[in-house]
């Protein structure tokens, strides 16, 4: 005999995770269109690694394996990590990152619901600190017109480390638009000159801007289907826009437009898919706003003044640390204790 309520809404954790994964599909579609199918390989590799690691860890922790494998949370982590690292990378890069993300940052903390840090971002941080070289070789999008690798050639490099005769890794890859921006600014070029480079498109990087747009579309779906709430993505993007806008207005030669920031790097992916991880973000509305503002500021500071080209991952992790404090200090007043009518 169980107790009330005897009715429950047909919803489940696995369904929520699945919907988030579905929302990633437009972005992934653009990814494949502009960079070829290599990303699908890393997504597959990451997914298999995540499931295997999750199963092994659950077994070691003496927890039921099947219900937790079916919750789709490990798969989502795998997808997010795969989308954060270069697709044309040795197979072990994504495997190491995913295994670390699941084993250490999720399962060692107690598994689903208990991890203080976003597992995908921990995986990314470990990789960028440990393997900076492999993490900077991003595929060149096809409109930029470099020699393009076929799917087989991409597979050959991922699993065998060999490229077609006469091609070097530098010929088929490039730094990200954010990275290039930073390097070129250091070399004394102005934003205007840099933006004229062929790798840039209307908003930000050729190809990558469209992938970001794809993620934004997916984010809109998540908002519309009430999987996520507006506070985190809207406030994060607004903060990023505001700070970038202020710097851009002060010195447009050295600071790119706010839209460039929106459509570069992991801003869109982060806004809709990473900051919104419920486990590692605040539960109160006020807390969500503080969290998003903080993440926006840190992202911009790292991008504009820090050592890494993008700041999304570290912004997320730094704000993850603050979540218990934010939650504790932003408790709303409960019904009847607010005093007066509203």
């Amino acid at each position: 005999m169980f107790s009330s309520p005897y009715l429950t809404k047909p919803a489940s954790v696995s369904e929520i995770m699945l919907k988030v994964m579905l929302a990633l599909l437009p972005g992934i579609g653009f990814y494949v269109w502009y960079y070829g199918p290599a990303i699908l390989v890393s997504i597959t590799l990451a997914s298999l690694t995540a499931l295997a690691t999750e199963a092994a860890m659950l077994k070691l922790r003496d927890r039921p394996v099947a219900p937790f494998l079916k919750d789709n949370s490990a798969l989502l982590t795998a997808w997010l990590l795969a989308l954060s690292i270069p697709p044309l990378a040795p197979w072990w890069l994504v495997v190491v990152g995913t295994a670390f993300a699941i084993a250490v940052s999720k399962q060692l903390y107690g598994g689903l619901g208990n991890n203080p840090f976003n597992p995908a971002m921990i995986g990314y941080a470990v990789l960028i600190v440990s393997f900076p070289v492999q993490m900077t070789h991003w595929l060149t999008p096809h409109p930029v017109g470099h020699p393009e690798l076929s799917f087989l050639e991409q597979l050959g490099y991922i699993f065998g480390g060999v490229l077609p005769r006469g091609l070097t890794l530098d010929a088929v890859t490039m730094a990200t638009p954010l990275d290039t921006l930073k390097t070129q600014l250091h070399l004394g070029h102005s934003v205007g000159e840099i933006r004229d480079m062929p790798i840039y498109g209307k908003l930000a990087g050729q190809g990558s801007e469209m992938v970001a747009l794809g993620f934004a579309l997916g984010g809109a779906y998540l908002l519309a289907s009430r999987i996520i709430r507006w506070h985190l993505p809207v406030i994060y993007l607004a903060t990023l826009y505001a700070i970038a806008g202020i710097f851009h207005l002060i010195d447009p030669a050295h600071y790119v437009t706010p839209l460039f920031h929106w459509f570069s790097g992991a801003a869109m992916l982060g806004a809709f898919f990473i900051l919104t991880d419920p486990v590692t973000s605040p539960t109160t509305d006020k807390g969500k706003i503080i969290f998003a503002v903080g993440a926006g500021i840190i992202t911009y500071l790292i991008r504009a003044f820090g050592g890494f080209p993008d700041g999304m991952a570290f912004a997320t992790l730094l704000m993850n640390i603050c979540v218990p404090l934010i939650d504790a200090t932003t408790q709303p007043k409960v019904f009847g204790h607010k005093g007066g009518k509203r």
Binding site: M1, F2, S3, S4, P5, Y6, L7, T8, K9, A11, S12, V13, E15, I16, P67, D71, S73, G111, L112, G113, N114, R229, P278, V279, S281, T283, T284, D327, Q331, P332, K333, V334, F335, G336, H337, K338, K341
Partner: protein, 572 residues
């Protein structure tokens, strides 16, 4: 005039399942074979049984008298014979037994003499007394004695809110009552308004019951009621929660632990208003109520059911279907599964839902909380259910209270939306009961400590008193001794008296010897000599055993008492 409505936070929209039972008129349930009437159907003290086994009782006769200030009367639902007064399983989630009167109906429906009155001709004290004697309690489910709620508060009562929201799925008893007996509800509302000196009456009816709303509005117009308004409120669960309905209709938020009358508002269920009217105007005590019988039954509908009717006999009238796994009392959001289908219908029973696997599949196994805050969005009390869950799970009760655990109304909206299928309400109930238990333990410990301290004090006091008395006695004894020693010197003056006493005693002995012959008389001379020898030996032995005459010394007796008593130490 459009009334301004207010919003409350959250709420959910579970499927209503109301249409199955809402379109059929109320039917009187057939007389059951027996009535099992619990004496505790209300908040407060259990009613005191005032009938004996074997008594014939009349319909409406008091069988349980209110006991203490917060209590209510219980009546015989029909005429018949009291077959038993004993402990029986009652409709309570604890599945515990309680004192019940079992009544075998005689089918005559013979009433006690009862007389109604015009409420305007009765004093308010008299009205409240009549309601109490009529066993009128809140029929929305809380069964709080209504007379206790009909006093004014610190502030003038702005509004009397009548609750016809009926937000729980499946339940349609108030819907039918409003459609069929609207005028009597309004008359009850007038009595309540008079007792509360309330300015206006607002009747909240969820907008998924347009017929009930229309019926009430029509009755207001036809009866020319002034200051009573039937208002459509948005359909959202738990919009029928008293705090939520008060908020929607008046904007007032009543916090936990505060009397709503102090905030200038009071709330009653429409069925309570109806019963109050019947009790005052017709002198009819509460003997029955409208019960929705629905779920896994052939003909879901509303019945007018005598209290004490066994649930299984009631459900049978709606057509018991195979596959019934149990019975819910109340709605699926806040109700509970009855421990047995044999329990009697009580005043709190607004709905009986026959359960089946198909209607109520067992809940999916609970997954960890992912802090998705769907519960926060659903909570009408604006709590943080996910935090309360963590605190309850960790037995961190202090923190749970800090996060307003006791503001939780256990509506179940959080658990309804939880994608991890965590039985959240169960955790809150657990935490609340643990906290209550600890409070009780603490109170008990405090009382024990106070008792212990008083006992220590008492022992110490007694000891001191005893010592003082002893000292007094010793002093007296010493004085007596001194006097006795002083008397020794004058003792010869008494020798004459001593001799007189001796002589008197010898005379008595001689008389005795004459009237009572000894067994040594009429013996042979040989026997007499043998006896004389024995006597002589005995005398000698006596002499050896008692070398001195027995002299009692007063001081030796005193020493005995003065010996220190074993310490009377506490066992703790």
């Amino acid at each position: 005039m459009m009334r301004q409505l207010f919003r409350f936070h959250g709420g959910v929209h579970p499927p209503t399942h109301k249409s199955q039972s809402s379109e059929k008129a109320i039917v009187a349930a057939v007389m059951p074979s027996k009535l099992v009437i619990p004496l505790h159907q209300h908040v407060g003290n259990i009613a005191r049984p005032v009938v004996k086994v074997g008594d014939r009782v009349l319909k409406g006769q008091v069988i349980g008298a209110p006991d203490g200030r917060l209590s209510s009367a219980v009546h015989a639902s029909t005429s018949g014979i009291v077959a038993a007064i004993d402990m029986q399983v009652v409709a309570h989630p604890s599945a515990l037994s309680d004192l019940c009167v079992t009544l075998i109906p005689d089918g005559l429906e013979e009433w006690v003499v009862n007389a109604g009155a015009d409420y305007r001709e009765l004093s308010h004290t008299d009205l409240r007394h009549r309601l109490r004697q009529a066993g009128v309690v809140g029929l929305g489910g809380a069964v709080f004695p209504s007379d206790m709620k009909l006093y004014g508060g610190k502030n003038k009562i702005k509004a009397l809110v009548l609750n016809g929201a009926e937000c729980e799925p499946y339940i349609t008893c108030d819907d039918r009552l409003m459609r069929e007996r609207a005028d009597e509800i309004l008359r009850g509302a007038e009595i309540m308004r008079a007792l509360l000196y309330a300015e206006e009456v607002a009747i909240g009816i969820e907008d998924n019951k347009p017929e009930a709303l229309a019926a009430m509005q029509q009755a207001i117009v036809e009866g020319r009621y002034q200051g009573i308004e039937a208002v459509a409120v948005p359909t959202v669960y738990p919009g029928g929660g008293a705090k939520q309905l008060i908020r929607v209709l008046t904007g007032i938020e009543v916090p936990a632990g505060v009397r709503s009358t102090d905030m200038g508002v009071q709330c009653f269920n429409v069925a309570t208003a109806y019963s109050a009217y019947r009790a005052i105007a017709h002198g009819e005590p509460m003997l029955s109520r409208i019960v929705t019988v629905t779920g896994n039954v052939a003909n879901p509908q509303n019945f007018e059911v005598l209290f004490g009717t066994p649930v299984e006999e009631l459900v049978a009238q709606a057509g018991t279907l195979p596959g019934t796994t149990g019975h819910l009392m109340g709605g699926p959001m806040m109700g509970f599964e009855l421990p047995s289908a044999k329990v009697g219908v009580i005043k709190a029973a607004n709905c009986i839902i026959a359960m089946s696997e198909a209607l109520f599949p067992p809940p999916a196994p609970a997954m960890p909380c992912i802090r998705c805050t769907r519960c926060v969005e659903a909570c009408p009390q604006e709590l943080q259910p996910q935090d309360l869950y963590w605190f309850a799970r960790a037995d961190n009760f202090g923190k749970a209270q800090e996060f307003s655990l006791f503001d939780c109304i256990e509506c179940g909206a959080c658990a309804y939306v939880c994608p991890s299928h965590i039985p959240l309400v169960q955790y809150y109930r657990y935490a609340k009961s643990e906290i209550w238990a600890r409070e009780r333990d603490k109170t008990a410990a405090d009382t024990a400590r106070q008792r212990h301290e008083f006992r220590q004090f008492r022992i110490e006091r007694d000891k001191q008193e005893k010592a003082a008395k002893l000292a007094e006695k010793e002093r007296a004894a010493a004085l007596a001794k001194q006097q006795a020693e002083a008397a020794q010197t004058t003792a010869p003056a008494d020798e004459d008296a001593q001799a007189r006493i001796q002589a008197a005693m010898q005379r008595v002995q001689a008389q005795h010897d004459q009237t009572h012959p000894k067994n040594t008389d009429h013996l042979t001379p040989q026997q007499q000599t043998e006896i004389a020898e024995v006597e002589a030996r005995r005398a000698k032995i006596r002499e050896l055993a008692h070398p001195e005459a027995d002299i009692s010394h007063p001081a030796s007796h005193l020493q005995e008492v003065a010996r220190p008593q074993p310490e009377d130490l506490p066992k703790e």
